[in-house]
Symmetry: C2
């Protein structure tokens, strides 16, 4: 579908709604034991959010010719898995021993609402459900892609480096490497898993991998910008949290004007993997990420 | 191999040594970034332990005719995965917001040694590596078995119920259900994954599942007994930790003599899935669990 033909906000809203339905469907019901833990899962997962990772996976899947003409498909499991794993990372990141955040998506964080023990277990549970869903695709590649993206070579490695960089001088290369792992790896994974489930040929998978890498980096640069300049109401979390935690941020290192230029350049480079005139939903999502205010 | 022909302690030591080699092989090297996180993984995983879950998986695999005539096999990935996931559960269980334990296997617990943030991330990392290894078997069933065993219907559900039962009166049925989930589910999973990787026929898989369930329950009843009566030096952790944390324990509910009888009965029932004269390594491990002092 050409991007011009798509109303961006309607498209993104439809993707959010689909993702929300999938998440409700694949979370264990609150009525089943252990109720308190299941309640915490629903609370954190259903608190909203842009659902960009599932939407990127779906857009990549469709771009690669994957069919969505069924109620229940491997891509749907993968979409839910990606958002659950993202939520797990937020819950553990917000813990007092990590970023110690009280607010997330406009609501008290999981540990503020349910206590630390349940928050640790809720993160663990989402981590777990994500892998169960990836295995439900019937293929091992999505499991492997996810494990690598969020493991010590990816997201967990980025979080560790982020913690260890607190309070000390960090170079632009270092912060870019932290971003690549902490946020970029899972976004790249979302795009790749969508393409893999559509059986994309190697050349196409490579191009989309570059797209995912660029968009993932742009996403985190913009996150850093919004943490300084964002509207707390729109963000649903405290702004200035990075600076309070003495976190290294991209604008903190290169300055705000350069940070904006870098974000734009990364979005441009992401979109450049597509031929001119090849307007599609991946491009639309990339443009949305480039312009997001929250 | 008939159990009579096996020297139990030599057999179990060989299994421990094989597991240790596999764990060393499949953990990310300490020399690679993020070094502090990788160091914490090695510290916790290589601190020793009986390696019973991997050994049960291997024994089930061999009992079902699985070949071990190669250096690197799916069963080896599964063995390492089971121990990594077990270690992840211990690291998160020991956290201040959970059981708040200072000592594990005779050494400071992960958070005592590396701080809470790294301990949370180390548990997450092992959780992750375990799924990557399960996927490396090339089959999705082991991934699914593991996810279900340690998810909210299994281990995490048991941990939640365990926390929620603290300080209140618990029935024998409730504690048995907590044990079934908290400890039993992963032990059952170990046996099943071994059998599945050897392509065990359905009837055999069912019998071994019962074996795994009984052994898993026995293991936790004995754990509760040892927490009261065990030798702290042999255990490598503080005894009396359950009572300090107002944890419900099996002997606390039914009394010590009945707890001992239940443990013995569960071991007898586990062994009863094998014909008389069918002496094998699974039986040997069950008998060892029945007699363990640490």
């Amino acid at each position: 579908m050409p991007a011009q033909a798509i109303d961006p906000s309607a498209y993104l809203q439809a993707g959010r709604e689909l993702t929300d339905r999938l998440l409700e469907k694949y979370l264990p019901p609150v009525s089943s034991e252990p109720k308190s833990l299941h309640e915490a899962l629903h609370y954190s997962v259903m608190a909203g959010g842009k659902r960009l990772r599932p939407q990127l996976a779906l857009a990549a899947y469709e771009y690669c010719g994957g069919s969505v003409k069924s109620e229940e498909l491997p891509i749907h499991y993968a979409m839910a898995a990606l958002e659950m794993v993202h939520t797990y990372s937020l819950i553990h990141d917000d813990l007092p021993c990590m970023d110690d955040d009280d607010l997330r998506r406009g609501q008290p964080t999981c540990h503020k609402k349910f206590g630390e023990a349940i928050a640790v277990l809720a993160g663990d549970a989402l981590h777990d459900i994500a892998f169960e869903l990836m295995a439900r695709t019937g293929r091992t590649e999505p499991v492997t892609e996810l494990a690598r993206a969020i493991g010590t070579a990816g997201m967990l490695g980025g979080q560790t480096a982020d913690i260890e960089a607190e309070g000390r001088q960090v170079t632009e290369e270092e912060i870019t490497e932290i971003h690549r792992r902490k946020t970029g790896a899972l976004i790249r994974c979302a795009v790749r898993v969508g393409a893999i489930l559509a059986d994309a040929p190697a050349e196409l998978l490579s191009r989309l991998t570059i797209f995912g890498e660029k968009v993932g980096l742009a996403f985190q640069v913009i996150d850093d910008i919004l943490d300084i300049e964002g509207d707390q109401k729109l963000m649903g979390k405290k702004v200035g949290s990075d600076s309070k935690n003495l976190k290294a941020t991209y604008p903190g290192i290169v300055g705000m004007p350069q940070a904006r230029r870098t974000a734009q350049q990364l979005i441009d480079e992401a979109i450049a993997v597509f031929d001119e005139g090849d307007d599609n939903a991946l491009k639309l999502i990339a443009l949305f990420i480039g312009q997001r205010q929250s």
